[in-house]
């Protein structure tokens, strides 16, 4: 049973890579097969986001969810990418030239370490029990409901906790159930392993040609071995999926601020849409990322702002149908019970909320020192002469932390100072997004500090960037 389920998952995730590769070729172009291999992680995550968004829209529109729908969606998205590539006259990938920097000794050593780590995570997750409360209480039941009833079953979505939480992860998990041939909640952990592996490969693939291996890999490994990532990244809930999507969106926007490649903004917009359809806080964090990018691009605002606003608006439009669906059914719980302005009746809360957020971000027992390292990297990049990247990163971290304070302040049912068990700790989940984000942004910042400028591009586009 498990072997069959694992084989099904492998085939399904290979299909996601193909879909994502077609889309990436369409928006970016892929010059060589070595480049296809290097960006296969990014292609996989593009496929995950695109399919997750498409499945969510189909569920909201009432399209019956099943293997046929999944297959047709994959074909349509892949064909869309190929049509886009033809329209932009993208050349086919040719040759297998291995990129020199990818073969450095440090890189090879760390690739081996990360490989050993991912194998260990796989072994632990393959037979893991479903013991996480949120997992069995509503994330997996929602996935089961989509699997069994072929759609957003109103009775279950009304009865289960947090009915307004978006359905992207349950839809992807339901797709995994179809791929496995049964609602196998044990092997489901392996699907989360694919997401983790895809994210790691995406960050490494994006940064390998621009960031030196001794800068990139130790930081990436440091984030991966943070105790909370080790213990909880395979739990079948949405927290880490949200973190991956937001981290990739923020990283691509950071690269866009330096390179101005349209494909980077297109992919970032897709990841932002995916994040908004993954968890409620995805909207908050997506807004923080877009506002940070707007502020960091102040000097080129005439050129940059329309594009950034368009990318943010496109992501919001893709997330809108879900909001219409749950609001039309009077499902509640999305906003603080006291409303947006009710927080001013609780002016005793911001200070303990701020202390709780700072404490959670600096909790070395959960995150080692990923966030302090990000702060040091921002300072070093500024000191080294870079301006755009450190300003953007400082704003992303700062605005997000302010957003977390707002959450604790305005949801007055949360007792302050906030000190819940880690398994159900809302703040630990929120902070996870900034920690995972550090896996991509910190190497970029340290590289900028090393170079003494924002990056090798500093503005000009490469041919592969497309229109």
């Amino acid at each position: 049973m498990t072997g069959h389920a694992l084989a099904g998952l492998a085939v399904a995730n290979a299909a996601v890579v193909v879909v994502g590769s077609c889309l990436l070729w369409g928006v970016r172009g892929l010059c060589s097969w070595a480049e296809v291999a290097r960006l296969s992680g990014l292609a996989y995550m593009v496929g995950v986001a695109a399919l997750g968004v498409a499945f969510t829209l189909e569920l909201v529109l009432g399209v019956p969810f099943g293997l046929a729908t999944m297959g047709i969606t994959c074909v349509v998205l892949a064909a869309g990418g190929l049509v886009l590539g033809r329209a932009f006259r993208r050349p086919r990938p040719r040759g297998f030239g291995v990129e020199r920097r990818g073969l450095a000794l440090v890189a090879v050593s760390y690739v081996a370490l990360v490989g050993v780590y991912l194998e260990a995570v796989f072994r632990a997750g393959r037979l893991a029990p479903l013991s996480n409360f949120d997992g069995w209480a509503f994330w997996v039941p929602k996935a089961k409901a989509i699997y069994f009833f072929g759609g957003l079953d109103e009775q279950f979505f009304r009865e289960l906790a947090n009915p307004t939480y978006p359905p992207l992860v349950p839809a992807l998990e339901a797709a995994a159930f179809h791929a496995m041939g049964s609602p196998d909640v044990v092997t489901l952990h392996v699907q989360l392993w694919f997401f983790l592996t895809g994210f790691v490969a995406a960050v490494a693939g994006l940064l390998a040609p621009r960031v030196r291996a001794p800068v990139l890999w130790p930081i990436l490994l440091l984030v991966l071995v943070a105790p909370r990532v080790v213990n909880r990244s395979l739990e079948p809930q949405a927290d880490f999926v949200l973190d991956y999507l937001l981290a990739l969106a923020a990283l691509l926007i950071a690269l866009w601020l330096v390179d101005r490649g349209a494909w980077q903004l297109c992919c970032a917009s897709l990841f932002l849409a995916g994040a908004m359809l993954t968890k409620r806080e995805g909207q908050l964090l997506a807004a923080c990322i877009v506002v940070a990018a707007l502020a960091a691009s102040w000097r080129t605002r005439r050129l940059a702002w329309p594009r950034l606003v368009l990318a943010g608006a496109a992501a919001f439009v893709l997330a809108l149908p879900w909001r219409i669906w749950f609001q039309s059914r009077d499902l509640t719980g999305e906003l603080p019970s006291s409303g947006f302005l009710g927080l001013f009746d609780h002016l005793d809360r911001p200070w303990p909320a701020l202390r709780s957020v700072v404490g959670a971000l600096l909790d070395t027992g959960l995150w080692l020192f990923a966030v302090p390292l990000a702060v040091v990297a921002i300072v070093l990049a500024f000191a080294g002469g870079a301006r755009i990247l450190p300003a953007y990163a400082a704003l992303v971290y700062g605005l997000s932390a302010a957003g977390f304070v707002w959450v604790l302040w305005s949801f007055t049912e949360l007792e302050l100072p906030y000190d819940q068990d880690e398994g159900v700790n809302l703040l630990a989940r929120l902070c996870g997004s900034l920690v995972v984000l550090s896996a991509g942004l910190v190497p970029l910042l340290l590289d900028a500090a090393w170079r003494g400028s924002d990056g090798p591009g500093d503005g000009p586009r490469t041919e592969a960037d497309g229109p």
């Binding site: 780590y117 632990a124 893991a128 069995w136 289960l160 044990v186 490994l221 080692l368 390292l373």
Partner: protein
Amino acid sequence: MVVCLVLAAAVGLVYFAKAVDALGDAAAANAVANYDDRELAGGTALGVDQEALVAARGLIPEGETYRLVVGPQATNIGQFTRYFLMPRRTAEDARWVVCYECDLSRFGGELHVLWQSDAGVAVGRLPG
């Protein structure tokens, strides 16, 4: 910056070893359990009677509805039962009854009990 990177690399390698060790232990512990233990792990933490839920899943057909009636000591098992018995739906007027430490006399002798445990859990069907 070099200090920063050396520190990150050193901490990363130490915790890498710890992580691989811990993950190996977790894999070994997970391998010992059987599939039901893994699927019911969340309920085990709540003190749910595994045997009863497995029996209920075996007896109640997938397309049927059921009602969960709980005694005063077992009030927090509703969510887990709903998850475990999916795709069976809950309904207040369902013929199938999962009585979890409840008082069977409330059914006035009409409940045809198909499975019962010493711990006071019963699965049965009402006429109609």
